[in-house]
Amino acid sequence: MGHIERPRRAVRPDTATGAAPALGGGTRRGSAPVTAGAPLGIRPPPLLHAVRRLDAGLADEALRETAAWLREHYTNAYGTAPLGYVAPCFLGPPYADHLLGLDGCILEHYAPADPMPAPFPAARMLARSGAYAYVEVYEGGLVLPVLADGTVVRP
């Protein structure tokens, strides 16, 4: 497949923004209006920040904690959590995009020619367009691009 797992490094919790993923209970900060039954509510800044931090080279333990916090936050707020995220990769060539899996918390970088496992390929060109902060991929193939301000593009 040709993808290379990026080395991870442990980072300290971001005390400035208070966006460090909470363990267990997962403090729900900045809760946004949520559309009941559909994960279409605006993603609050702490959530956006946490997703961005998944790609910040976290240590394995921190990565798992962030993923757990995200899963819990999504489930509490929207009733469901995505399988993972596809986002543009800023490592530069040959990598174009990366996949952040919440289940098992995989972080993989992909070159344009590398195939991504299903159901993530549908999100790749959206992520590579650079217009979205990240693209959420749900079980069943639902793809929800999220803009930098947290707005979700309705399916």
Partner: protein, 592 residues
């Protein structure tokens, strides 16, 4: 030399000559077959060009015929409209005329009464005619007639009559009565099925025509409707679909600036489509950021403002006329599309809701924004409606952007080569179509393409070589045979004959070998030229792809500006703004 030997020699000679003639004949036949093949290819190419030209001619002729037919139909429908509903124009003109005549006191009550009664007789079933009788009875203080006429007008068209009297009372400065009629009108409305006259309400909002009391009433009522309808997912989706169709219609034209890519890349149709879609952002900005400014010379006289709105109310065609106007819109769309019926059909489908007899409040707002002329809305109303449609435009725009971005091909391939092969050295050189992907380095693609051709050029050229071995062996055999057979009789004669036969034969073989060698050189050169053209094609396609990517990125980057603009619609014109707009000063001098 014995007689037998001589005969044998003659026979061998004859056989040799026949073999030579046979070979020449075979070469001639091969040349002819090749010529026929070339001629057939040329004929096929010509035929293909002819078919393409013919199809283009047929299409152009069909478009012209459609255009002419649509123009004729427009005249015909207009004539039918004039014949069947033309008399209503007089009623419409008279309505505002009577009010203005009363204003300046230049018409006697008798004349007004006479004209209104004439119109009542001339215009059966039309709602405005009894309303005019009521108007004429009003200054005469003939309450009984006035009530009867209002009841008849109300029976014929409750909505329009309510609105008409609301506006007339407002015009006459009787705010309480106007608001009562307005409340009556609004309460009778079902926001899911508003009549076409509802556009007048939007117009009143834009013009601030009903004063503070009416404004508050409309604000409360319309905000309630909007809230109710917005919770209906289907109603919201319907508006989003209309805006999506509008944005789809803003896509740019197909590009003719990427000839190599369009010829060699199987992904070209998608690339072109995606680039066209990306161009819609700028078109959207150009269209809606530059909406015509509302007329800044709005009159401060209540009468003038209300008369403008009354003109719109009475000028709005009746439901009976709708089928004609729908037909007219289709024929006009055919003319606008240069005779393309499919394009016209698509265009009219986008605006079909504008010609519905009844539509929900959200649809009326969308129609006022998208097709103000269809419901007689002014530029001011259009601007306010576009602002009110902000959430749907945003959703439609976001969905549109997501869809074309997702459609962009992740891999752009190139297929270079002609599966029909290349005519070289009298034969068909079939080099398979080379396939490459821009996901790999362009230099690597070029190396692959060059190798693809070179691997096949030399083996093909070798097939054109003259097979020297057999003719030389045969020639040597014959010469040796001559020497062996005839040397017994006369060595000198045998040597001379062998030299003669060997010489002549050698010259013929040499000529053929030389001709084949030349053909090989020509074929080699031709195929290398094709190889260079293929490489040029690859480099050109790579350059065009880089150009395409640059244009696509530039066009796609405008999406942010378009999104900001759409979001700004809500902030520049907040929800309450239509009601906070200007309030016309009444004739009594106070702000009403």
């Amino acid at each position: 030399m014995t007689e037998v030997d001589r005969q044998l020699h003659n026979k061998v000679d004859q056989v040799g000559n026949r073999v030579l003639r046979l070979t020449e004949n075979l070469i001639a036949v091969s040349d002819q077959v090749s010529a026929v093949d070339t001629a057939q290819k040329q004929t096929q190419d010509s035929l293909l060009a002819l078919v393409t030209e013919f199809r283009s001619f047929v299409r152009s002729a069909a478009l012209t015929a459609n255009l002419h037919s649509a123009e004729t139909q427009i005249l015909s429908v207009e004539e039918r409209l004039e014949r069947e509903y033309g008399h209503l124009k007089r009623v419409r003109r008279t309505a505002v005329g009577i009010l203005q005549a009363f204003d300046v006191g230049l018409a006697t009550q008798d004349t007004v009464q006479q004209i209104s009664e004439e119109l009542m007789i001339e215009s059966p079933r039309y709602w405005l005619a009894p309303a005019l009788v009521a108007l004429a009875a009003w200054p005469r203080d003939d309450r009984a007639l006035c009530d009867k006429a209002v009841e008849e007008a109300f029976r014929r068209s409750p909505e329009r009559t309510s609105l008409l009297f609301a506006l007339i009372l407002r015009r006459q400065g009787r705010a309480d009565g106007a608001v009562r009629w307005l409340r009556h009108y609004l309460r009778a409305q079902n926001p899911d099925a508003l009549g076409r006259e509802f556009a007048v309400i939007l117009e009143c909002i834009a013009q601030g025509a009903f004063g503070p009391a009416g404004r508050d009433l409309m604000k409360t009522t319309l905000a309630g409707w909007r809230e109710t309808l917005m919770t209906d997912d289907e109603a919201r989706q319907a508006q989003v679909r209309r805006w999506r169709a509008e944005i789809d219609g803003l896509r740019g034209p197909a590009s003719a600036q990427f000839p190599r890519l369009s010829r060699c890349s199987p992904q070209w149709p998608v690339l072109d489509e995606v680039l066209r879609c990306a161009g819609a952002h700028q078109a959207l900005l150009d269209t809606y950021a530059a909406l015509p400014e509302p007329d800044t010379r709005l009159s401060d006289r209540l009468e003038d403002t209300v008369d403008d709105i009354l003109d719109r109310l009475v000028g709005e065609y009746d439901s009976e006329e709708l089928p004609y106007h729908r037909e007219l819109a289709l024929h006009r769309a055919v003319v606008a599309a240069g005779g393309d019926r499919d394009a016209a059909q698509r265009a009219t489908e986008v605006g079909a809701a504008s010609y519905e007899e009844r539509s929900d409040y959200l649809s009326v707002q969308t129609t006022a924004a998208l097709d103000p002329a269809a419901i007689g809305a002014s530029a001011a109303t259009q601007r306010l409606s576009v602002a009110a449609c902000g959430p749907w435009i945003a959703e439609a725009h976001a969905g549109f952007s997501r869809d074309y971005r997702a459609k962009a091909p992740s891999e752009v391939e190139l297929h270079i080569g002609d599966p029909a092969g290349v005519d070289a050295g009298g034969r068909k050189c079939r080099i398979p179509v080379w396939k490459g992907s821009f996901n790999t380095d362009v230099d690597a693609m070029e190396r692959s393409l060059v190798s693809h051709w070179e691997r096949r050029i030399e083996p093909f050229v070798q097939t054109l070589a003259y097979p020297l071995r057999n003719p030389l062996l045969l020639m040597a055999g014959v010469v040796v045979a001559i020497l062996l057979v005839l040397s017994g009789a006369s060595v000198g004669f045998a040597v001379l004959l062998a030299l003669f036969v060997g010489g002549v034969w050698g010259v013929v073989v040499y000529q053929r070998w030389d001709a084949a060698d030349t053909a090989q050189d020509d074929a080699r050169e031709l195929l290398h030229r094709h190889k260079r053209e293929a490489v040029d094609q690859l480099r050109g396609s790579a350059a065009e792809l880089a150009d395409w990517q640059q244009r696509y990125r530039a066009a796609d980057a405008v999406e942010g500006a378009a999104r900001t603009f759409i979001a700004s619609l809500a902030t520049t014109t907040p929800a309450g703004a239509p009601f906070e707009g200007r309030v016309v000063t009444g004739s009594e001098g106070g702000t009403v």
